[in-house]
Symmetry: C2
Subunit: 208 residues, 2 copies
Amino acid sequence: MSGQVTRTRILRVGLDLASAEGLCRITFGSVAGRASLSKGGVVAHFPHLDDLKRSILDAALDLWSRTCLGVDTGVGGGLPSLIRYLNVWIGWTRRAGLPGSCPIAQAIVELSFLPGPVREAAAAAESVWRQSLIMLIRNAIDKRHLLQDTDVAQLAWDLLGIYLSHHVSSHSLRDPDADRKAQFSVKRIVASIEAINEGAAHQRQGGQ
Amino acid sequence: MSGQVTRTRILRVGLDLASAEGLCRITFGSVAGRASLSKGGVVAHFPHLDDLKRSILDAALDLWSRTCLGVDTGVGGGLPSLIRYLNVWIGWTRRAGLPGSCPIAQAIVELSFLPGPVREAAAAAESVWRQSLIMLIRNAIDKRHLLQDTDVAQLAWDLLGIYLSHHVSSHSLRDPDADRKAQFSVKRIVASIEAINEGAAHQRQGGQ
DNA sequence: CGCTAAAAAGAACGGTCATTCTTGTACAAA
DNA sequence: TTTGTACAAGAATGACCGTTCTTTTTAGCG
């Protein structure tokens, strides 16, 4: 069996496991068992556990990118692309075939206290998310779909916050209504800074 | 030394440790060390680790209640009380003298995958938070400060979401601007459902 | 002082886990 | 067939931790 194939299988199993039980539950033994490998077999590919965890996060970000980016062919940018992206992003793990929650969101919180390469990888993924949001927001502003003086960083923070809230709500708190609530939040926040009826919106934004 | 005093000291140390390193880092040894006790000394008070963790969460909720509730004497209910509460809630751990982040918010996420009494305690704390928000929101509606058809559960979800986003942002991602951003979010969401200029606001809520 | 009971210390056991090392196996080239 | 090499298995080590048990210390009281 080619080593590359086994390596891919390990990462696939690890990604599933991270989604189902969290990155902190990843051990050589747990991954080896589900991959029908011995513990030593996994270690041969990832000498240190951090290597494995970091690679799993990389695989998760890769899957996110394939699931959530580039799916709006034909929408043509601007606010519609932003809204489309948000609707695809929220709950993307189900669509991607993962058995549980979003491993990245979970990792960001789980690793708060644990400096090291794995934490860096999680933070980097968050940075990618934030940059993607910012680019979509900027594009919507350029196309005059959003107010010109929209605070880009603030809006990105709010939208990332909705995603994280949805993660906690649906996963940690098992709220069956999490999807609906998150979508409502997105609608409300977008409505409050849309460039339509600029007068009222502007008054709201600027007014204290 | 009276056992009660030692027990209190253990919980104080445990609360600090949970704030500084997370509930999952609580071990008999770590608590014992910081409390100048032997491992056995801690076990004598909390035979099972879950007892200790649950008690720490209880202590955290207690501290929250003393720090965040009942501080608006003279404000007199309604929307001002809600806003006051949110401003006190966000970042309450600093005010309460805890060395790190909010142990409850962290626990809610950390324990997502681990059913048991500790997870139940974290979920119960979240329920208390949610109920507090709902009561404040209802009061603001009764006083005609918020729109009559405000979706109470949705608004509570949004505000809890801002708190959790602030937790992740300030703690996991170390954004020094987290406080300001969270406060801005609160202002925006409150503005969008205030009963003032009801026409525009109503149009926004009901529209689409 | 001695007696008693609570409180704390400390040793010990079994389990899990990361890491390291050695062994075995399949497969290619010579 | 022999040799060499990547791949995987499996044993061994040392650390940490929850839990249990026994022993020592401390405080109160006659």
